[in-house]
Symmetry: C3
Subunit: 139 residues, 3 copies
């Protein structure tokens, strides 16, 4: 059984944001699957998806601060600057973190670890909504 | 045909560790698949999975040393510090490297390149065992 | 329906290269699929695959320059040096960026965002051709 759906995530400020519940709420069919995989793909190159700690908000803040060190604005060798100083770092973060995640489905739910959540990583200062394509396959 | 199994990997010291043989040994059904995909997912946020060089142990040592530079302990802006200085860097490494890998299955075996192996990347100083969820689909 | 094929990508100079059209041209069966997933896997540990901006070539140049900062040649702690100064940085970039990408298939085409393209990231100075394994599943 295949299920594929495009979802629009509401605009978020620059940073790392938990979206596990928002994504699951839009996929009631998950409950019907005994075994399978969920693939979530973001159709953008200045935002990304990761899986990380779901409890302490300071993890998401530290993540944002550290990725700003790993991909700082204003590096003297950047040539792709006409969309603003946050744009090229956003592309780099997108490649470092990735455009998709694949998560096992087990007994009707995402089989994440106790402390795992799905993050939308918003790398632009002023982002609009983001589109993700969710593909579920299972039985 | 779907197959899904949770495996417990024995505790490893901080660093990068080849686990290809350990994972394959637990999945005898692989041999029956002509074409498919294996998805391996780690249910933790302070360890990760990657694919890299499977021959020279110095690669894994250099990897550990370099990721300690990319995500150093004690960054002055870290606020998530109550689980120890190795914890927030572990979360960052987990997002840089990733919680899962997907590998093609061809003619009954993982279709890795000659020099590729699956690594468990253990980012904590004192880790216990790690759980991975392996999902295989194929025919 | 499963389809799996090994493709040989022509040698590229060190850097980031758009290969979306080259990959799609080799997979005419894509058009027959209504819904599915494409998995592309590179069988090497000194090159990688990512998805990023498909329009402005300066993005790919800036990416190359920045990854050379993130994984520089000649770090004093590198021990894996006998294959040349570009080799260990190549392994690190491979783990930072990843060996595979999974992309949704929708209505007979890759469901990438408007500005997304698939990149071959070549991390060696003198690389030969690279082999990728493409696995498509869908209906």
């Amino acid at each position: 059984m295949w299920l594929q759906r495009e979802l629009t995530l509401k605009p978020q400020r620059r940073g790392f944001h938990l979206i596990t519940d928002e994504v699951i709420a839009l996929l009631p069919e998950l409950r019907l699957m005994n075994v399978g995989l969920l693939h979530v793909f973001i159709q953008h190159t200045s935002a990304s998806l990761t899986i990380n700690e779901n409890a302490d908000p300071t993890v998401r803040c530290d993540m944002e601060r550290h990725f700003n060190v790993l991909a700082p604005e204003g590096a003297p060798y950047f040539k792709h600057t006409y969309e603003g100083p946050d744009d090229m770092p956003a592309h780099i973060k997108s490649t470092l973190i990735g455009a998709s995640q694949t998560i096992p489905i087990t007994a009707g739910r995402l089989n994440l670890g106790t402390w795992q959540g799905l993050y939308l990583c918003e790398h632009r200062d002023s982002a609009s909504s983001r589109t993700i394509v969710v593909t579920i396959q299972g039985e």
